[in-house]
């Protein structure tokens, strides 16, 4: 309490406000974490290999790329918008970085600058999505789908039929190194997540994104620069997809158009399962990360308990639908319109 307050403190006519959290919010907040714990417990019971240090490292390393994507995507979802440009942006960034570091296709060798350039390219794609949605008032569903196609197109042109493999010794060496038994890329992911949480909690952009998702019209009428925040959110998201694309390229050692295949579905699923709802204003970066862990643990655990690879995808799908149904359960009502 500051001194100013005790001077100003007035008799309380307003009633004390009990901080009751509606049950639905509580479930949306804690549910995913509980689900993750339960999932881990079940897999640990079914497979002795699951709860080993080696496997936990495995899970963390394989969650890295999806986690980076989810951080950016969370801000877009928090606005109440959607972003389907992940695959395209990742492809373009993958080819961009592969062709700018020392590679088998040309004589470029820009080193770290290549990574900066590819990230900037991703941010530009995001910027385009944002400007198209806010300027032309086209739903983000459509603009980002279009931008994704543009990204794939750009990547295909850059690919030009011959796969660029990275020859830079620095990159290969850096990528193969480990800290504390985890790949360095995992630490990149952790850094991105930390930055994401800080943006969400402590910056105007992050807080406004949540406000816009809560009630866009009111935010606009209160003088919040709605358009600018939206464009920034898309640009930031684009940059994170690009970082994810670069990570995949470094892992593979070459740039391919398919760098981001399947990530649209995986990332949106992870965010929603984690409690970042598509209706906007709910959840957050850490929610989405819990979702990422759920999805990753699921894939890992199904392999370990010996589920046939042929049915794994279907089982994943079933579990995802069930998880989303449980998250949405407290919100259902007869007259609730779902589109």
């Amino acid at each position: 309490m500051t001194p100013a307050r005790s001077v100003l403190a007035a008799p309380e006519t307003g009633r004390a406000t009990p901080r009751i959290r509606p049950r639905s919010t509580l479930l949306a907040d804690l549910g995913p974490t509980i689900a993750l714990v339960v999932l881990c417990a079940v897999f640990a019971a079914l497979s002795p290999q699951f709860a080993t240090w080696g496997n936990i490292r495995n899970i963390l390393d394989s969650a890295a790329v999806l986690a980076v994507i989810a951080v950016g995507l969370t801000f877009v979802l928090m606005l109440g918008a959607i972003d389907l440009s992940i695959e395209g942006v990742m492809a373009a960034a993958a080819l961009c970085v592969a062709l700018l570091v020392a590679n088998t296709r040309n004589d470029n060798d820009f080193g770290f600058l290549a990574i900066v350039a590819a990230t900037a390219l991703g941010a530009c794609f995001g910027l385009a999505s944002g400007l198209l949605s806010t300027g032309l008032k086209i739903p983000s569903f459509m603009t980002t789908l279009g931008v994704s196609a543009i990204g794939i197109g750009v990547a295909t042109v850059l690919f030009g039929g011959v796969q660029p493999s990275i020859t830079s010794p620095g990159v290969a060496e850096w990528a193969s190194g480990q800290w504390f038994g985890l790949t360095r890329l995992t630490f990149v992911a952790v850094a991105v997540v930390v930055v994401g949480v800080l943006i969400e909690r402590y910056t105007r952009m992050g807080r406004y994104a949540r406000a816009i998702g809560g009630a866009e019209e009111i935010a606009y009428l209160s003088g919040v620069p709605v358009r600018r925040v939206k464009v920034l959110a898309f640009a930031f998201a684009g940059a994170t997809y690009a970082i994810a694309g670069i990570m995949v390229t470094i892992q593979l050692g070459s740039g391919i158009v398919q760098a981001g295949v399947g990530q649209n579905f995986a990332a949106i699923t992870a965010a929603v399962v984690g409690g970042t709802l598509l209706s906007g204003g709910r959840g957050g970066v850490l929610h989405s990360i819990v979702g990422v862990m759920i999805v990753t643990v699921l894939v890992n655990g199904l392999v370990l308990i010996g589920v046939s690879p042929y049915v794994q995808r279907a089982v994943q799908g079933v579990i995802v639908v069930v998880a989303v149904a449980i998250t949405a359960w407290p919100l259902r009502a007869r007259m609730r319109v779902v589109k």
Binding site: P11, G14, R19, R207
Partner: protein
């Protein structure tokens, strides 16, 4: 005393309707000014103009002696005019502190980075001004409705520091959603505001306006028609000024109220909707209007929605003409002769982009179909019959309903239930909301005609006066239970206070 805010001859027209037709008034320092007028008198247009949401066609707004042109709420706030909206304007999923300082965080945000402790401290200063114990870090949606209104007031007061001048607070029907205790707290708040701000209090509850205001302006048809001082006028005088003619007995058509039939049309026993109402019992006779009184949260809307199958019922029985029914969905209820006119016309009552004819036949599409095939000609003729009978003003049956005026939209929405001969129970949730006096009169006449033909009507009305005048009996609900049933036969109508006491 000099005027803090003065308005001179504001005018505004939309297409052929004149929303404002020469409004002038002034607000002095530390004064509470009441602004009254019927729906459509121009109150809301005027308020929106003062905060820059609507631009006047002509006229002047002067703030502290200087002419100003408002371009939006942000700018109005920067100049020191803030509005507490009737439908609240707080963002539900962020903290109280953020809402109070939204888009005006000042030094609490440095270089785009939030400084939470500073933000909370600044918000606390505003909350202290109104002596509220609301915590600045509470999530807004967890607060009660009344508390949220205080947060809105605190938000308006936050303009004080920015402008270094005492703000003008516009309160748009602030009591319409509050219960009696909450209203008293609000009035105490207004007294407190009086020492540091000027207040414009808009309400259609005349007793309240007379109680809190220093001066009252009366608006009628977009014009200021009178300036009164409470103490010199009474409610009746204000009402005459508002309506511009004497009483409204004929308005409600009370003399057309016929005694209901003996047969019980709808019998409800022990109706319970989870978390909303418990053990609700009542009967409605054929040809009877049963008014349901109750404040927000009394459960009356939910009871009606449950009857119509739009909400799940936990237990209880519903008998229609002696036969037990269990409406599982609106479709099943419609098939048994229920009709429902929701309060939110635009979002629930009609499909704005569809034509008048399509809207009318929507629930009973079978009547204009031959098998699976829609007979457009038949649909059009049916619609035209009702357009003529209800005197709906529309270019044609094929015009989109969204383009009609509110009153004509509502008549078309009512017509959809009249199209079928099988209508037995009609549920009306605030059927005259947002309509002008003339259109209201026509809706009242229609309700009288319907009951004369034997339809049972459940009515929730905008005001107690309307409810009492239209009903044969009034069912009073409080906290999900029926507290009383009061007879309201013509000539022996109960006083509003009698019902109000049982509501709260």
């Amino acid at each position: 005393m000099s005027a803090v805010l003065s308005v001179h001859d504001l005018r505004k027209s939309y297409a052929e309707t004149r929303a404002l037709d020469g409004v002038s008034f002034e607000v002095r320092r530390h004064e509470v000014v009441g602004l009254i007028g019927e729906n459509g008198a121009g109150k809301s247009t005027l308020l929106k103009m003062l905060v820059g949401l609507v631009q006047p066609d002509s006229g002047r707004i002067e703030l502290r002696g200087r002419a100003v042109k408002m371009r939006g709420i942000g700018q109005a706030g920067a100049a020191g005019i803030g509005m507490v909206f009737q439908e609240q304007s707080l963002i539900p999923n962020i903290t109280v502190a953020e809402n109070i300082l939204l888009a005006a965080e000042g030094g609490a945000v440095r270089g785009g980075v939030y400084r939470w402790s500073d933000l909370k401290r600044r918000a606390q200063v505003q909350l202290d001004k109104i002596g509220s114990g609301i915590r600045p870090d509470a999530i807004t949606e967890t607060l009660s409705f009344a508390d949220r209104q205080f947060v809105e007031i605190a938000k308006v007061l936050a303009t004080e520091e920015r402008t270094n001048a005492e703000p003008v607070v516009l309160l748009d029907e602030p009591t319409s959603v509050l219960d009696r205790d909450e209203t008293e707290i609000l009035f105490a708040q207004i007294e407190r505001l009086r020492t540091r701000a000027s207040v414009v209090f808009v309400s259609h509850r005349l007793d309240e306006v007379l109680r809190v205001s220093d001066r009252v302006y009366v608006l009628r048809n977009g014009r200021t028609v009178a300036e009164c001082t409470p103490g010199e006028v009474d409610e009746a005088a204000l009402r005459r000024l508002m309506i511009g003619r004497d009483l409204e007995g004929s308005h409600y058509g009370e003399e057309d109220q016929r005694p209901p039939g003996d047969a019980v049309r709808l019998a409800v026993r022990g109706l319970t909707v989870r978390g909303v109402c418990e053990g609700v019992d009542f009967d409605v006779h054929a040809g009877e209007v049963l008014g349901i009184a109750g404040v927000q949260g009394s459960g009356r809307e939910e009871v009606c929605r449950a009857l119509f199958g739009a909400r799940g019922v936990k237990s209880g029985t519903i008998e229609l003409d002696g036969k037990t029914v269990r409406p599982r969905a609106p479709r099943a209820a419609i098939a048994r002769g229920f009709g429902f006119v929701p309060a939110e016309r635009r979002s629930e009552g009609m499909v704005g982009t569809m034509s008048v004819a399509e809207n009318m036949t929507l629930p009973h599409i079978g009547e204009v179909c031959a098998g699976p095939v829609l007979r457009r000609g038949l649909e059009r003729r049916l619609a035209e019959t009702w357009i003529e009978r209800l005197r709906i003003k529309t270019p044609s049956a094929a015009a989109p309903i969204g383009a009609l005026s509110g009153g004509n939209q509502q008549k078309a929405v009512l017509a959809r239930w009249l199209v079928s001969d099988g209508l037995r129970v009609l549920i009306l949730d605030h059927p005259t909301r947002g309509l002008d006096v003339g259109a209201k009169g026509e809706v009242y006449r229609l309700i009288r005609e319907l009951t004369a033909s034997g339809v049972a009507v459940l009515l929730m009305a905008d005001s107690l006066e309307e409810l009492i005048a239209m009903s044969h009996r009034v069912l009073v609900m409080k906290d999900g239970r029926v507290t009383d049933t009061i007879d309201a036969a013509p000539g022996e109508k109960p006083a509003p206070l009698e019902i109000l006491e049982r509501m709260i």
